[in-house]
């Protein structure tokens, strides 16, 4: 009898084995949605590895690849339907300030239609996010952001995977390696490099590749990652994010913040549009206010939402009044909004007033811009050709910038080798191959830089058991981030446990990765046991009294 009681006592300690009567319903088969292997090999393989690990808990996990269109449709527009998915946030220069992601990803107001697509709702977090947005003092803001990261670490709304590294390569007999500019969280594939890169020989054109074609080239449209590379050097902005990740005046000569709600901008002299007209203060005012006109520029509207008014105060100066204090305004808005010519776009906006179309869909035949490059020719599915703008105050050293659309990764490698392209800017393939190429080809230099973005598993909190913090923590504890970085991403990634990348050294919570278990089955089981989950006949059940009321994904 004593031995029997002892063995019962032992099994009652934090381990999962239990009898059927004590446990709730069996947890339904869960579905982990991901991209097909051919579309995103790394994400797909990571999903397989993670699903394998989760099965050790006694869960039935199906990995379900969905093709691109359907993938977006289900995850973004059918938020009640899916359990969990792989997803990513891409690094852009404007995200050098963490505010955009801090606010959009986890603040509950964005749950229905916005970026909080997992449905995370924590009033304590909402408060932190709002405070950091309005805190202009760097040190105090950092404290708030650290707190936010620790809170997210505890709540695990995302199972963070890795921060990828951007791997690019170029021909170092064509381009002077010393003239490459590395931007924090971006790498050398950035605007500063395009302006600064120095040719070593006869070749004066940067020829780079892109995996996906942009949808159009329009200052009021964010046409995807690759389209942005071109748009960023064709249209200027009042400020730009510098190589260290901080905003610098660009189209503006001077930017001052006399108080938390006011921004004074002095426009640079002598800027010209490509149609010969000068850039005036009215153009600047227009560029800052046009996205707010109706719903004509929905992609940029959120970035002007906080603007109460913009007024020209002199031939070269304007004053912006904000509705609320905004610590990130210079980066997230002034470094993002394009300077567009009023004499071209005002009539377009007027014309669109009573039409359903937005300004995003307009494609000018000869786009008018004032940036360091001008559009010569854009055959969007094949190639975009830009030429240097000689009248720009910071003229490029190269003659042309040519982006070739090459959806085939192998072909782009071959093109680099053969010299058809001299800059491999968009490489989503196996980094090992690129390293091998660099070893065997003395012309090729490879550059690897930690990205601002991150990859993660999204837990849909609208569907049990994902609304339970303990369940999410257990799942995250099984994600072996080091293994993923080494094997799924072939070494071109670092483990992640925050939406703020280590590349943003100022804001990143040091050591946050070590504060979540990784690939640790015992830890996961302990978390579940403490929360009352039970293992019956090898299958994981809810805590006692909980019924399975959700239908499996299908």
């Amino acid at each position: 009898m004593k031995r029997f009681l002892l063995s019962v006592a032992l099994t009652a300690l934090p381990s999962l084995a239990a009898s059927a009567q004590e446990a709730g319903d069996a947890i339904r088969p869960l579905t982990l949605i991901t991209q097909p292997e051919a579309a995103a090999p790394q994400e797909h393989q990571a999903a397989q590895i993670i699903a394998d690990a989760w099965r050790k808990l006694g869960l039935t996990v199906n990995v379900r690849p969905l093709p691109g269109q359907e993938f977006n449709q289900v995850i973004w527009y059918e938020r009640q339907r899916w359990d969990t998915t792989t997803w990513q946030m891409v690094g852009r220069p404007e995200r050098s300030d963490p505010d955009e992601l801090t606010y959009n990803l986890f603040v509950s107001a964005n749950a229905a239609n916005g970026y909080d697509f997992v449905g995370y709702n924590n009033p304590e977090y909402d408060k932190l996010a709002q405070e950091q947005r309005e805190e202009l003092d760097l040190a105090k803001r950092k404290v708030l952001l650290i707190q936010a990261q620790e809170l997210i670490n505890h709540d695990q709304p995302y199972g963070f995977e890795v921060h990828p590294e951007n791997v690019v390569a170029y021909n170092k007999t064509v381009w002077d390696p010393a003239s490459m500019v590395s931007q924090a969280g971006i790498g050398i594939r950035n605007t500063w490099t395009w302006i600064n890169v120095r040719p070593l020989g006869a070749q004066q054109d940067v020829i780079l590749n892109s995996v996906a074609p942009p949808t159009n080239l329009n200052p009021f449209n964010i046409s995807g990652q690759q389209g942005s590379w071109a748009a960023e050097i064709v249209w200027d902005r009042l400020m730009r994010v510098g190589p260290e990740g901080l905003p610098e005046p660009w189209g503006a000569e001077k930017v001052e913040r006399p108080d938390t709600l006011t921004v004074n901008v002095t426009l640079r002299h002598g800027m010209m549009w490509s149609d010969g007209q000068p850039v005036t203060i009215d153009d600047a005012v227009f560029s800052l206010t046009a996205p707010d006109i109706g719903d004509k520029a929905p992609m940029y509207k959120p970035f002007v939402r906080n603007i109460a008014s913009v007024e020209a105060t002199g031939p070269d100066t304007l004053t912006i009044k904000l509705k609320h204090p905004d610590a990130a305004f210079l980066v997230s808005s002034l470094s993002k909004l394009n300077l567009a010519p009023k004499h071209v776009w005002q009539p377009i906006f007027d014309d669109l007033k009573n039409k359903p179309q937005t300004a995003e869909s307009i494609q000018e035949e000869h786009p008018v811009s004032s940036g360091p490059f001008r559009i010569v020719r854009a055959s969007l599915n094949q190639e975009i050709v830009l030429e240097a703008n000689p009248t720009h105050w910071s003229p490029p050293k190269i003659h042309r910038w040519i982006m070739r659309i090459m959806p085939n990764v192998e072909a782009s490698l071959g093109a680099l080798k053969s010299g058809e392209i001299n800059f491999l800017a968009d490489y989503t393939g196996d980094p090992q191959l690129l390293q091998d190429l660099a070893k065997s080809s003395p012309n090729i230099a490879v550059s690897q830089a930690l990205d601002l973005g991150f990859k993660f598993i999204a837990y849909n909190e609208r569907r049990p058991p994902f609304q339970d913090v303990a369940f999410r923590q257990a799942l995250s504890a099984l994600i072996d981030r080091t293994l993923l970085a080494e094997d799924a991403w072939g070494g071109a990634a670092v483990p992640a446990n925050s939406w703020i990348s280590p590349a943003l050294a100022v804001w990143h919570d040091q050591g946050i990765v070590s504060r979540v278990p990784g690939g640790n089955l015992e830890a996961a089981q302990a978390i579940l046991a403490k929360a009352g989950y039970a293992l019956v006949d090898g299958k994981l059940h809810y805590p006692a009294g909980v019924k399975e009321t959700t239908a499996p994904y299908h």
């Binding site: 097909p36 579309a39 191959l433």
Partner: protein, 296 residues
């Protein structure tokens, strides 16, 4: 009235198969290839050394891109799966797609050809017109659109093959039926009161089945190639294990750049062999490959 013709039993549909194979060495090779593939499919669980979907480990790490070795006769993929196991299980999908599509094509084509050839008149005209419309639909584009319309996968391939590839079978069968119709015994059957239906299906059909079967063996090949093309273009079922999906994954993971010939070559060769087998079997009748030469 029960029909009775001297000697008009159900005519044996096929010549003795063995005699056929002996006379046609190419066909014998084709049949042997098919036999191997069927064996692979049926005995897959016994033959495959690993679960094709299992992620294999090399110590703590994933066993990616392992070269050919005693433990992995064809090495492993970028995701840590055993290539040989995937190849063996792929035979199942190949046979499933191939046989189903071939049976569908042959069934539809034979039926329509039989009806058109025997009944003539408006039936013939209708079938011919229908065949012309179907022949006006380009195969791969149609399959892609259909895959986008419904769902990518094996079913779409089978349906596309069945819907679009029957006309050639139908024409050939129709030709043969036209000539069979004039034979004395058919005339005799009619005179003694056999119903049209009975004549068509009990007497004429078995005569054309050998031709239909030979055509079916070619159709198996087209179906496999269609599945491979669909997978390559991203319209296959990413969840299935098939040779086409293996090729697409190898391509997407840059296996060729890696020099992983052990991954990329076997599925391609398997497809070649299986399709080739179908061609070889039908070598006995050249006209099957060039159906438009038959009486239009």
């Amino acid at each position: 009235m029960r029909c009775s013709i001297p000697g008009c039993r159900s005519v044996r549909a096929a010549r003795p198969v063995l005699r056929f194979l002996r006379d046609e060495p190419f066909a014998a090779v084709g049949a042997a290839i098919y036999a191997v593939i069927v064996a692979m499919a049926v005995f897959a669980p016994e033959l495959a050394p690993y679960d094709p979907r299992a992620i294999l480990r090399d110590g703590h790490r994933i066993a990616r891109y392992l070269p050919i070795s005693a433990a992995h006769w064809l090495g492993t993929t970028a995701g840590g799966h055993d290539v040989l196991s995937q190849l063996i299980y792929g035979a199942r999908t190949a046979l499933e797609v191939g046989l189903t599509a071939a049976v569908a094509v042959v069934a539809i084509g034979t039926l329509l050809g039989l009806l058109a050839g025997y009944l003539g008149g408006w039936v013939d005209k209708l079938v011919t017109r229908l065949a012309d419309v179907v022949l006006g639909l380009p195969f791969l584009p149609f399959m892609l659109v259909l895959a986008a319309l419904t769902a990518p996968g094996v079913r779409v391939v089978i349906v596309s093959v069945a819907l679009l590839l029957w006309p050639n079978t139908a024409r050939v069968i129709r030709s043969q039926v036209l000539s069979l119709r004039e034979r004395a015994w058919v005339e005799a059957a009619r005179v003694t009161g056999c119903s049209t239906g009975r004549i068509m299906f009990v007497h004429v059909l078995p005569q054309v089945l050998p031709l239909a079967a030979l055509y079916g063996s070619v159709a198996i090949g087209w179906a496999i190639l269609a599945e491979a093309a669909a997978s390559f273009l991203g319209f296959g079922d990413p969840d299935s294990i098939s040779w086409g999906v293996m090729l697409q994954n190898a391509y997407a993971n840059q296996a060729l750049g890696r020099g992983a010939w052990n991954w990329f070559t076997p599925p391609g060769l398997a497809i070649v062999l299986m399709v080739l087998a179908g061609f070889l079997i039908s070598r006995g009748s050249e006209k099957l490959l060039f159906p438009r030469l038959a009486e239009p």
